[in-house]
């Protein structure tokens, strides 16, 4: 419980400056790329590309600037849980907001149910 090992957490891990600079460069390139692609017509893919680049940038910041690459499993679970819960909120809200015009019509086997109920 009170082992002073270097492995616990990442208390000891020091990231080289060169890694930070490479990540910084990648982030700047990503920003430039996103901006440049916005001026090219890719139709619906514009959004996909922009978000893919954004997610990549986020992953780089999380792994290297925030040291998650060297962090415990618990840290990763916490982060993933946060995003997963955001996903729940977006997905289930959209399941209502984007389906208002859907008609739920009994088809196939479900058509039998009203008949079955009338039998009783």
């Amino acid at each position: 419980m009170s082992d002073h090992t270097e492995q616990s957490g990442h208390s000891g891990h020091i990231v080289p400056v060169s890694t930070y600079l490479l990540v910084f460069l990648a982030l700047m390139v990503g920003t430039a790329l996103t901006t440049w692609i916005a001026y090219i017509d890719l139709g619906r893919w514009n959004t996909v590309v922009a978000l893919t680049i954004a997610v990549t940038k986020m992953v780089l910041v999380v792994l290297f600037f925030m040291h998650v690459k060297y962090a415990t499993g618990l840290t990763r679970v916490v982060i993933l849980a946060g995003f997963f819960w955001l996903g729940i909120m977006i997905t289930l809200s959209c399941s209502d907001e984007l389906t208002r015009t859907w008609e739920i019509v009994p088809q196939g086997w479900n058509m039998i149910l009203p008949v079955v109920f009338r039998l009783f």
Binding site: A81, W85, I88, M89, S93, S95, D96, E97, T99, E103
Partner: protein, 544 residues
């Protein structure tokens, strides 16, 4: 040799130093970093809010003895039920067990000296009372009439009441919850005593952990929702305004994304308390420890995917209604698991009927009724009929009052000797428990019937044929009120005149019972090393 806990202290309460007498003066309380004192600060403020919210309830029930309303204009009645809901939900039920019993017990139960972040803990309390102050000031200046659910467009555009101030109060109190949740999660992960593995933890801790997950994942969403509502009201710009393409239902989605898990914030700690009470007063280890532990986590997780069942009749799509209905049936399963496990624990236990146990037994019955009636509401077709009626009111009062408040009372009675070093008079406690049980059922069972027959909720007047049941309900409410006042009296009496409690008046298992009563500020003289499971009561075979 099976001494699992190092050194049991038999220090008599009246001669030793403890966390209550180690320093004196108002500053030592208002600037304390001791989790136990912070728990007591919360206890005082939460009790105050309970009685304020209770006053609103008493006034409502008095008004409803007459079909045309006995006391108020409809506008005032609307403010009454709104105030009752807001104060009871946000300022009583949500913080009740976590902030009082949780703060007090978590470090003791896991063998730690305090929570991970004592200063954040104190700040939580200050945020809570600031939020409560906003809400009380707004209430005294006329309150709100939007219901505790603040639905736009009424709350954003048409209501002429103090919506922004109350919303601000709730917003601030929300941060209190968030910090408490962060504190508890980190404390439970990182500060358990040596040998206190996850599966040796008391089930109260599992319940508090699950509750803290909800605090952390849900509360921020109500914060942003109230912010958006405030912006709409102040700037008259429409996020929820259909005239500019907004959707009032979006508010409901965001609101209920928190508020549904919030009801599990209210019940999960109560369930944790019940696990402690049932085991202690049947002197038996819990049946199915892992099932109960995992059911707490399951409830916390599933609670986040069912919120649309509050919106079946407000305009949600049929598709989403189907999805949320199916998911809502799921959430009943882990709750049922707990009820079965408690019952199995009772079986062949050595049961005694002190006040805490009376509350626990009452909880099991009343929570089961409340929970089952929730299933009526999860089914789309029956919900169409029952939504907006007193059936809903009865359902949630069964789980929140018959469930959570009974658990809170049971927990207060159980740990009172530990917290204060004093015993309360058990005869009076049992009488009060019985009065509460009778008063509660008389108040709320008629409401199931009223709802089934179609009496709408949140209405200041009602058809004359419903009067008998309403009068019964109001009579029950007066009895219930008396039932709640009696413990207030004997608890206060006990603090000065109650006989000293030893370290373990109930003979219960758990690290908190190995310390003196009241405990030292630092909880333990030496941090214990844990080698046995929770609830390790001697089994039948070991009896002489």
């Amino acid at each position: 040799m099976s001494t699992a806990i190092a050194e049991i202290h038999e220090t008599p309460a009246e001669s030793g130093v403890n966390y209550l007498n180690v320093t004196y003066g108002i500053k030592s309380w208002l600037l304390t970093l001791d989790h136990k004192r912070i728990g007591l600060l919360y206890l005082g403020s939460i009790t105050l809010m309970f009685f304020v919210g209770g006053m609103a309830a008493v006034l409502m029930r008095l008004h409803l003895v007459e079909p045309q309303g006995a006391l108020f204009e409809p506008e005032t009645y609307n403010k009454m039920f709104s105030t009752h809901g807001i104060i009871m939900v946000f300022f009583f039920l949500v913080p009740s067990i976590p902030a009082t019993l949780g703060n007090f017990l978590i470090p003791l139960m896991i063998g730690a000296r305090d929570v991970a972040f004592p200063r954040l803990n104190l700040m939580s309390w200050y945020l809570y009372i600031t939020g409560a102050a906003f809400a009380l000031v707004a209430t005294l200046s006329g309150g709100v009439d939007t219901g505790w659910t603040f639905y736009p467009p009424y709350s954003s555009t048409y209501s002429q009441t103090h919506v922004v101030v109350v919303a601000l109060g709730v917003f601030i109190a929300g941060f209190s919850s968030i910090l408490t949740g962060v504190n508890f999660i980190v404390t439970i992960h990182k500060m358990r005593a040596p040998g206190m593995t996850w599966f040796r933890l008391p089930l109260f801790i599992w319940a508090m952990y699950a509750t803290s997950l909800i605090f952390v994942l849900g509360t921020p969403v109500i914060a942003i929702t109230l912010f958006l509502l405030g912006m709409e009201r102040i700037l008259h710009v429409g996020i929820f305004d259909p005239a500019v393409g907004g959707d009032p239902l979006l508010f409901q989605h965001l609101f209920w994304f928190y508020s549904h898990p919030a009801v599990y914030i209210m019940i999960l700690p109560g369930m944790g308390v019940i696990s402690e009470l049932i085991t202690a007063f049947s002197r038996k280890k819990i049946f199915g420890y892992a099932f109960v532990a995992f059911s707490s986590l399951s409830i916390a997780i599933i609670s986040f995917i069912v919120w649309g069942h509050h919106m079946f009749v407000t305009g949600q799509s049929v598709y989403a209604g189907l999805v949320f209905s199916v998911l809502s049936f799921l959430v009943a399963i882990p709750s049922a698991v707990k009820v079965f496990n408690w019952t199995a624990t009772l079986y062949k236990g050595s049961i005694s009927y002190e006040a805490p146990m009376l509350y626990a037994l009452g909880f099991i019955g009343l929570f089961t009724i409340g929970g089952l009636t929730g299933l009526f509401l999860a089914a789309l077709a029956t919900d169409v009929h029952l939504n907006g009626t007193y059936f809903i009111v009865a359902h949630f009062h069964y789980v929140m009052v018959g469930g959570a408040v009974m658990a809170y009372m049971g927990g207060l009675h159980f740990w009172w000797p530990k917290i204060t070093g004093r015993l309360y008079p058990d005869l009076w406690a049992r009488i009060a428990a019985a009065i509460i049980f009778i008063g509660f059922n008389l108040t709320f069972f008629p409401q199931f019937m009223l709802g089934y027959m179609g009496m709408p909720r949140r209405y200041a007047i009602y058809p004359a044929e419903f009067q008998v049941l309403n009068v019964m309900s109001s009579a029950g409410a007066s009895i219930l009120g008396v039932g709640y006042i009696i413990p207030l009296i004997y608890f206060m009496w006990s603090m000065r005149y109650g006989p000293p409690a030893g370290p373990n008046p109930w003979g219960a298992k758990g690290l908190e019972w190995t310390t003196q009563s009241p405990p030292l500020t630092e909880n333990f003289e030496t941090i214990p090393i844990v080698t046995e499971d929770a609830y390790n009561y001697p089994s039948e075979a070991a009896h002489g």
